[in-house]
Every structure is written in structure tokens, then in C-alpha cells.
Amino acid sequence: AAMRSRAEVDATLQTAKLNPAELLPAVHCLSFGPQAGGGEGKNTYLLLCWFFFSSLVIRGEKDEHAVLCSKDKTYDMKIADTSNMLLFVPGCKTPEELNADPASCNIIHSQIAGFSNNYWELRRCRPKLKKLRKLLMEDPYEGPDSQKDQTSTFSKYTTEDLLSLVQASEEEILHQLQVIDACKIEGYWRILGFEYEMKLLNHVTQLIDSESWPLSKVPLCACLEELGSLEPREMIEHILLSYGRKYVDDAGEVFFEMREDKICRAIAEMLLQNAVKFNLSDFEEVWQQSVPEGMKTRLDQLKGLALVDKTSRPETILLLKVEDLPEDNQERFNSLFGIRQKWTEVDITPYIQDLCAEKQTVGALLTKYARSSMLNGVKVYNSRRPIS
């Protein structure tokens, strides 16, 4: 379409009975640009309510809600409809800008780049990390002697693969990989099969015992030397990193301060796996005997791993891992109330702590998803809805 001339603009003003003296001299003649209007072959525009500036990624497979990830955070994307039409105009000046620049052009031919009747808003959300563990558990690493790896047809995942499949930011994913003690084997992220992991841990704890090393000062070099013939050196180092805190002494030698709580917890898991439920006092006895010399077992080491029932006679304990529970809030609560009708805050907290959004408390979650009552003078929580 031909561009409008000053004469045409003035004629329109006259017809509209607007007084040019009351207007700024510059006029924007708005027309739709070649890409506006959408359709085949045209650009798709998306308006996003934005409050930071950095590189972003939109993630989500077909059946997942889209999330937007910055380098270190994850946001839900929510569409907000407006009954109005939103046109985006490049190069359109505000009155201030026009006043500030008196030499500005008299006619500005502005092309509308695109338009929309909705926009997207971001809301910080928990990264969806459960899938990460699920992907890596498809093919846990069982050690070099395992036949599985050679013949395995399962997918193995590189960092890039995980970034494209998991709805979380890069930093959140890398952090979670560390939390779950994943390691890179031949360029792929792997999680150790529990049996193999315990085998490695056992090698180390037995060596610590036979060498009478203090638990706070386990030498890396000696471990690699003594155990190198039994297991790959990378695996020995990996297990030390998983269950110990690495440090370097003044002489430059690498040591590990073994993590008592984590080791006791792993051994408890090994024991609890073997039956549905245990007599609590029997378990505590066997557990203490099973941990390395010098370590003390405590029930609070098992938060989010095991559930103690103090109301049954005798008292019992069973394996209940928070990472095996649903990721969605409502589903998680349904699952927990299906396992036990009434929970004290102390008992339920380890199983809902990970659901807390930024600045949200466990108390707030309980208020939203549970109903409280008193039982024998103690506050307990149960489901808001009837459990079938």
C-alpha cells in the first residue's frame, strides 16, 4: 500500500475535526507489517511478561506444561487472556521522546510487527526433577563386571540430553545430579545400582577398619592403591566423594572426612529393603551392629527414608523413600494419607519438605492440603477428602 502523505494526514485530521495546533507535529502512520497477522509461513509472536534479562529456554514435551528456564531457575508459563488486542509496534515514539527530539520526523511510518490477544506470565516453580532420576534409573550402572553394559540397549544420557528432557534450568539439573550422586561414565550420566554402590561402600569401610584410619581422615591415595585391583579407580573415588567430604591437608594430600549420617542411612536402607516391616527395636540393634566401628546410628538419620510407627505394639519401622512418591502436590498428599491416615507434623515434614515453593513453608502446605485435629493432645493432620 502506498505510504500516506502529509497532505492525506492533514485531510484526515480535518475530517476528524481535530485541531492540529493542539497536537504534536509528528504523526505515526501505522500499518501492518508483512509478518503481521500470522498464518502459513509467517512468524509466530509470543508476548511474555518479563522481569529479567538473560538467555532462556522453553522446555516441555508434548504432554508436559511448558516451563521456562533461566540459567538457574524454573518458571511455569501461564497464559493470560485479555479481551483486548495488543499490537506491538517497533520504533513507535512516546510523547516524551518526540518532545525531547524536536528535529524528529514529521511523518513516521511505523509497521506493526505483530499482534496478539493474550500474553504469558511466569511464575517461579519447583524444577521438575523427578524425571531426572527416573531417566537415570532406566539403566543403573552395576559395575564393570556386569554384562549389562556391553549389551545394553537402554538409552544413556549426556548432559545435553538431560537438558532437553528435564523441565529445569541447567544449574538446577547439574545440582540435582550431584545430590543424587550421579557420575559421568564414558560421557554419559549414570546412577549406581544400589547393590553395586553398597559393594563399593563396603570395600571402603572394611579398608578403613582394617587400616584403623580415623573416620575423619581417610587417604585417597591409599584407597586407590589398596582397592584399585578390585574396582575401577574412578568408582573408588566416586564412592569416597559420595560418602565423604574431600579436603586437602597442608602437605597437599587428599583426604576424606566420612559422612557418618549418610553411611548409616545407606546401611539402614540396605537392611530395610529386605522386608515390608521391621520390629523397631530389633532393627535398631542390627543397624547399630552393621555400621562401621565408631559410628552411631540415630533414627533422625532416616528422615524421608523410613517411617516409624510408634502407635503399634511392638513399634515398627518400614522403608518409605520420598523420592518414590509422586511429584505433584495433591498426588503426594493423597499417597501419604493412603499410607497413614493421620500424621504429626514431625513425621510428615520430611515427606513434603521438597514440595515447598520459594518462600513457602511446610505449615502453608499443610493448611492447603490437609485438615488438622487433635489426637491424645497432639496435633495431627489428615486428608481433606475421603480416602477410598
Binding site: 500500500a1 484526515t12 485530521l13 476528524a16 475535526k17 481535530l18 497536537l23 504534536l24 504523526v27 505515526h28 502512520c29 501505522l30 500499518s31 501492518f32 507489517g33 508483512p34 509478518q35 497477522g37 502459513e40 509461513g41 512468524n43 509466530t44 509472536y45 509470543l46 508476548l47 518479563w50 522481569f51 534479562f53 538467555s55 529456554v57 522453553i58 522446555r59 516441555g60 514435551e61 508434548k62 508436559e64 506444561h65 511448558a66 521456562l68 508459563m77 479481551s83 483486548n84 488486542m85 495488543l86 499490537l87 506491538f88 509496534v89 517497533p90 520504533g91 513507535c92 512516546t94 510523547p95 511505523s110 506493526i112 510487527a113 505483530g114 499482534f115 490477544n117 504469558w120 532437553s164
Partner: protein, 116 residues
């Protein structure tokens, strides 16, 4: 899926949002591309005035509390949601200002032609 900053020069282009009531439809049943929308004037007090067809719209300049980013996905078939394994958006511009036209359009009444 990916989204990248538009240019390596750093600063994002600043665009303006024009918010209108109702829908925008081409006069002829053709494509909107290339067709005129109208003339945008400002009064000396800074009030935006938009003349669209036979209507005058008065609006106001609003500084957005939360700016908008304009993301663009090049060409191709439009997708209903931004997700999907191959969606790649570029951050193309930032919008901090909008011209909000909420008032009912005032029709422009032209002279009634004299009967011949």
C-alpha cells in the same frame, strides 16, 4: 527447545504496545499484511489519539510495571503452545510502554453529501 537473545550487540530493541478494544480485521477479506491501521497523534499534553477508519480513539500512555518481552518464532506453521521439542524463540524486543485505548471510539461523522 531454545530461546536466544536476538542480537550480539546486547541492547534489545524497545517497542511500544498499542492496546485496543475489540478485534482487528482486514477491511477486505485479504491478508492484514501491508494494510493501513490509522494515524497516531499525540496532543500537546501527551494524550495519544488514534484515528482508525471512521473512529477517533483517545488513550493514555502507560508505563508497564512489568515489561513484556516479545519472542518470535521464525516462519513455519503456528503451534498452539510454546512447548514442543523443536520450539525455538528469539527474544526480539522489550516493551516498557503501552498506549492503552480503552475509551469507546468516537465515530467521525463526515458531511452528509447533498442530494443532487
Amino acid at each position: 527447545p531454545c530461546l536466544s537473545p536476538s542480537s550480539s550487540t546486547g541492547a534489545l530493541a524497545q517497542w511500544v504496545l498499542v492496546e485496543l478494544q475489540g478485534e482487528v480485521e482486514p477491511r477486505q477479506s485479504g491478508d492484514l499484511a501491508g494494510s493501513l491501521l490509522g494515524d497516531l497523534h499525540y496532543t500537546r499534553e501527551g494524550v495519544p489519539v488514534l484515528i482508525v477508519g471512521h473512529h477517533i480513539l483517545y488513550g493514555k500512555v502507560v508505563q508497564l510495571e512489568k515489561p513484556f518481552a516479545v519472542l518470535v518464532k521464525e516462519g513455519g506453521a503456528p503451534q498452539p503452545s510454546p512447548g514442543g521439542p523443536h520450539s525455538c524463540y528469539t527474544v526480539t524486543a522489550l516493551i516498557k510502554t503501552k498506549l492503552l485505548f480503552k475509551t469507546r471510539p468516537k465515530p467521525i461523522i463526515t458531511h452528509v453529501p447533498k442530494k443532487v
